[in-house]
């Protein structure tokens, strides 16, 4: 059984949320008896961006609640979408009269729960729209399947839409921006270890002492290939080649990137990897105009990381990424 610092696996999310709001009362507060974290920031009659999903991905999403980014985040149980009543409540507390825009990661559970909440909110007269993030190219996409998963790219979506909302854009403008953003963003990850949810005794998958797995998800979902551990250079080569294949040829060579630690991989290794990303992008005559490195969308204590590329099709993307915000973890 993997060692974890906790009291009772059943209350881990509840206690985590309390720990967050007790630690950062100037930025966030909890909606009592819910899994909702809301910013303390005054309402200003702008569109509210609300995100959420299962817990275990910290700092996502509560660490990105604050002025200039998310209005609220809904925390479900570990790796489990929050329920419609919770999402509905978050929509209600976040609304500033200009409507609420939901950022949903593409999992059946998240889609269905957010959809039900959206229906309920609309019945109560709140304007709601949403975008489904599906940046993980490890999974084959098709019209007839669930499609790709939403992973680390979600953080860029929060940042860019949060900036648009802060700038006073309408919900329709934000929807258009989101629809322009999603197709330009791709992510793929790799793991050195599996992940064990609190209270369970076995990891999602087990890798040998010299093995890695490409294409894992952020909930312990297995990936597309298992191999011997490679050098950082070779890992970057595999991920970058795979990512670049997914972008249509185009004269725009400007990108923003995320090197996202999955939870158990130290920053030192993330920066060694980032160094190889920068070098190989340069070799490909591609420019990186913005980099974010660190544990942003994690999978509990999993060792590994993911690489996200966002093509900067719209100058607004870069402007939004560079803007300052007042959150715990951006």
């Amino acid at each position: 059984m993997i060692k974890k610092i906790l009291n009772n696996p059943d209350y881990i999310v509840d206690e985590m949320i309390d720990g967050m709001v007790l630690s950062h009362p100037e930025l966030i507060k909890r909606v009592p008896e819910t899994g909702i974290i809301q910013r303390t920031h005054d309402k200003k009659g702008k569109v509210a961006i609300v995100s959420g999903g299962g817990s275990g991905h910290e700092p996502a999403h509560a660490g990105f609640v604050g002025a200039g980014m998310l209005s609220a985040a809904v925390c479900g149980a570990v790796f489990t979408s929050p329920t419609p009543d919770q999402i509905l409540e978050a929509i209600k507390v976040a609304d500033e009269g200009k409507g609420v825009f939901l950022v949903i990661k593409n999992y059946s559970g998240d889609i269905m729960n957010f959809e039900m909440a959206q229906e309920l909110a609309e019945m109560e007269g709140i304007k709601v729209d949403s975008i489904v993030v599906d940046d993980d190219i490890a999974v084959e996409d098709s019209l007839y399947t669930q499609g790709k998963r939403g992973v680390a790219g979600t953080i860029f979506v929060h940042k860019i839409l949060g900036y648009a909302a802060e700038k006073g854009q309408s919900i329709e403008e934000i929807k258009e921006l989101a629809e322009n953003l999603i197709p330009n963003m791709k992510t793929v990850g790799l793991a050195l270890t599996g992940v064990t949810t609190p209270g369970s005794s076995t990891p999602s998958f087990a890798l040998a002492d010299d093995e890695i797995e490409y294409g894992v998800g952020i909930h312990g979902e297995p990936g597309y290939r298992r191999e011997k551990l490679q050098t950082s250079k070779d890992l970057v080569d595999e991920l970058l080649t795979k990512l670049l294949e997914e972008f249509e040829a185009n004269s725009n060579n400007r990108f923003a990137i995320i090197v996202n630690g999955l939870g158990g991989t130290p920053l030192m290794e993330q920066y060694v990897f980032a160094n190889d990303v920068h070098k190989q992008m340069k070799d490909n005559k591609l420019e990186i105009e913005f980099s974010k490195v660190g544990n942003l969308m994690t999978s509990l204590e999993m060792q590994g990381l993911s690489l996200t590329l966002l093509r900067l099709e719209d100058d607004f993307f870069l402007e939004a990424l560079k803007a300052t915000v007042d959150t715990i973890n951006w």
Binding site: G54, G76, A77, V78, F79, T80, S81, P82, T83, P84, D85, Q86, Y107, S108, G109, M112, N113, E115, M116, A138, V139, E140, S142, Y144, T145, Q146, R149, T197, G199, S200, T202, S204, G217, H219, G220, E221, P222
Partner: protein
């Protein structure tokens, strides 16, 4: 016998079976999903039990509505909205009819409306669909349920988390299909379909 009693017996029995098989369901979900289907359902049925234990239900619609709302607000993930929608849909149908076939068909519609899965996509629908057809024909037996469940093993998942595995989802029973199999086995055992 009270008209809701058989149905309450069913749900009570289903609750016990889910709690008993929590780890098995987590195990099935670990193979092709995220390993939490047992924990999700366990949380849900316990919340349902807490709500209906000791309560009096004159009308089936109230019973189903309480079950559906509890599942929706306690389970989360994919199975919460799906099972929840099934019971909420049954609650609506129960205003017009008491017929198991009519009610269960409404339940299936609820699942399909929410999850948009067709039969053959390796989901709980692959149990619900043949079972509801058999109920309509008055021919539901345990082996119908077992066969439906078993059939998910060779399917390739194209909906739900297991779809991320593509071909590698083949060879495993779908966890939601397993919990649905428990649902219908306990339905048979509770005698809901007997007249």
């Amino acid at each position: 016998m009270d008209k809701t009693e058989k149905w309450i017996n069913w749900i009570t029995h289903f609750t016990e079976v889910i709690i008993e098989h929590k780890d098995d369901l987590n195990g099935l979900d670990s193979a092709i999903g995220d390993g939490d289907h047992g924990s999700n359902m366990d949380r849900g049925v316990k919340a349902v039990k807490e709500k209906i234990d000791g309560a009096d239900y004159d009308e089936l619609t109230d019973l189903f509505k309480d079950i559906g709302m509890r599942l929706v607000s306690k389970v989360g993930g994919a199975s919460g909205p799906l099972y929840g929608s099934a019971f909420i849909s049954m609650a609506k149908a129960a205003k017009e009819s008491q017929e198991p076939a009519v009610l269960l068909e409404a339940g299936l519609e609820g699942v399909v409306k929410r999850g948009k899965a067709d039969p053959g996509e390796k989901t709980m629908v692959d149990v619900w669909h043949p079972v509801v057809n058999s109920v309509k024909e008055g021919s539901l037996t345990q082996s119908v349920i077992d066969d439906a469940l078993e059939s998910t093993k060779e399917m390739k998942a194209t909906k739900g988390r297991a779809s991320y595995l593509g071909e590698r989802s083949i060879g495993h029973i779908d966890p939601g299909a397993q919990s649905s199999a428990y649902l219908f086995t306990t339905l048979l055992e509770a005698g809901v379909l007997d007249d």
